[in-house]
């Protein structure tokens, strides 16, 4: 039984990697691939805002992978660093506007952390186009489209990242 599972997984992986790729992802050389952007968004505003944008059929770049968290106060600055370490080309953080937090004050704490995070990320030699934090509310589908489009365009201009340290 165990053998079958292994074989299935192995062949599945091989099939998954087959079309259009040369096997292992390229490490250390400029990869010709679409950029990957990680978005960390709060459940109550920005995730819903992204939903609004989707329902409104606003065209958005498909490079963004969203991670939904309960509140921006839940976002550990290390999430963004971990994303960069794991190969993300850009990280976008978004939540409720100050004053609109579902938990009253989560984003007040968060914005202090994000400001330090942003400055430290630049200190590590990651260009500022690759990191952004902002506020998008649930009704701001248009704004979400604008934020995402502009951010992804900025990251695309730099291309896939070859991080040497983090």
């Amino acid at each position: 039984m165990a053998d079958t599972t292994t074989t299935t997984q192995a062949s599945g992986a091989a099939q998954g990697a087959a079309p259009g790729s040369t096997g292992a992802p390229a490490v250390g050389k400029p990869a010709d691939r679409p950029v990957k952007v990680i978005g960390i968004v709060c459940n109550w505003c920005s995730y819903a805002g992204a939903d609004t944008a989707g329902v409104g059929r606003f065209r958005q770049p498909a490079n963004l992978r969203l991670i939904r968290v309960p509140c921006t106060g839940r976002i550990d600055p290390l999430f963004a660093l971990k994303a960069f370490q794991a190969g993300a080309d850009g990280v976008l953080i978004s939540g409720c506007h100050p004053g609109d937090c579902h938990y009253s004050e989560g984003n007040y704490y968060a914005r202090r952390k994000f400001e330090l995070l942003e400055r430290m990320i630049h200190h590590l030699g990651i260009p500022e186009e690759r990191f952004k934090w902002t506020w998008v509310s649930a009704s701001e589908g248009q704004r979400w489209q604008k934020v995402v489009t502009e951010f992804v365009a900025g990251v695309e201009k730099l291309g896939p990242r070859e991080g040497r340290a983090l």
């Binding site: 290390l78 370490q85 100050p98 202090r112 330090l116 430290m120 590590l124 902002t134 506020w135 991080g163």
Partner: protein, 323 residues
């Protein structure tokens, strides 16, 4: 009476009167260029305590988060100016019980950088003397004797120190040192400029080279007086796994960033991590940068005021960051 005599007297008195179960100070190490922590339980043993410009260790590390053994022990300890800021940072968050502490403040006029000193001589150092204030006389195994100015061999952190006197203490060993006027003398981060002016690619290349050497021995984390999660440390956690055991600069730098972010607002740049690092990674620079930004954002200096809360534990509606 020298500061050393004061320390011995305070220690002996506190031990005799039973105000403390033991007293933590410094004693001469096995190596002549090193002073090491001393734990004194018997008033008759206070003579081993010393105070020289080699007493680099931050003894607050031993009391962080109510950790003294046995639990609930009353502890006496010596703090320098920079150490006292870490103690104040712990007190701000009520992570140590000040009723159980007896703090002897030691005004400090600079600590000698042991590594800098050792690198100046090809032969082993057999004796270091401090004949007068500001002078260091080194004798090596080869018989060479050299007199140096203390300013030339002191720690980088001491060169820019604005708090030579302890900010929190029950007793003070001797007269206070002259302090700079802190309204005029603002924190000095000029050591960072060279790195900050590098282009992004050069920064990454430099970090890659520096952090390739990290062996993740946890010395920086264990020695840090304000980093205290112990077995709950996310760096040690496998579930969730933030930092893996993979050996590469990226993981190593992430490991350091965990430490840095977790002590943000509490770390006063005492540079204990810098001194503890066996592969001499300039960790203090990362923390100095963090403190520079925190000062820029909030005008906040960690561990300077007892009634203040660290900036990341509170918020202000008037903050205006972001858009």
């Amino acid at each position: 009476m020298s500061r050393q005599d004061h320390i011995r007297e305070f220690a002996a008195k506190a031990l005799e009167e039973g105000r403390v179960d033991y007293f933590i100070g410094w004693k001469q190490g096995h190596n002549s260029s090193e002073a090491i922590p001393a734990f004194v339980k018997d008033p008759a043993e206070v003579d081993q305590l010393v105070w020289t410009p080699l007493c680099a260790n931050n003894l607050v590390t031993f009391i962080k988060r109510n950790m003294p053994e046995p639990a609930g022990a009353k502890v006496g300890l010596c703090v320098k100016g920079c150490d006292s800021r870490t103690l104040v940072a712990l007190l701000q968050e009520e992570l140590v019980d000040r009723e159980k502490l007896y703090v002897v403040g030691v005004p400090c006029d600079g600590i000698v950088d042991r590594r800098k000193l050792e690198k100046m001589f090809s032969s082993e150092i057999v004796a270091i003397e401090f004949p007068e204030k500001g002078k260091v006389v080194v004798t090596t195994r080869a018989g060479e004797t050299k007199e140096l100015a203390q300013k030339d061999v002191e720690l980088m952190a001491c060169g820019v120190c604005r708090y030579p006197n302890p900010l929190y203490s029950n007793d003070t060993a001797g007269p206070l040192e002259t302090e700079p006027d802190r309204e005029v003398v603002k924190p000095d981060w000029s050591a960072l400029e060279q790195y900050e002016n590098l282009p992004d690619d050069a920064k990454q290349a430099l970090l890659e080279r520096i952090y390739a050497t990290c062996i993740r021995c946890f010395a920086c984390i264990n020695v840090c007086p304000v980093c205290f999660c112990w077995d709950k440390c996310v760096n040690r956690s496998r579930q969730p796994e933030l930092v893996s055991q993979k050996v590469e600069p990226k993981e190593n730098l992430l490991f350091q960033m965990v430490h840095m972010f977790h002590v943000a607002g509490r770390c006063p740049s005492c540079m204990a991590c810098d001194r503890a690092c066996p592969v001499e990674i300039p960790l203090g620079m990362l923390h100095a940068k963090m403190n520079k930004e925190i000062y820029d954002m909030f005008g906040f200096e960690p561990g300077t005021k007892l009634d203040e809360k660290p900036v990341f534990q509170v918020f202000d509606l008037k903050d205006h960051f972001g858009d």
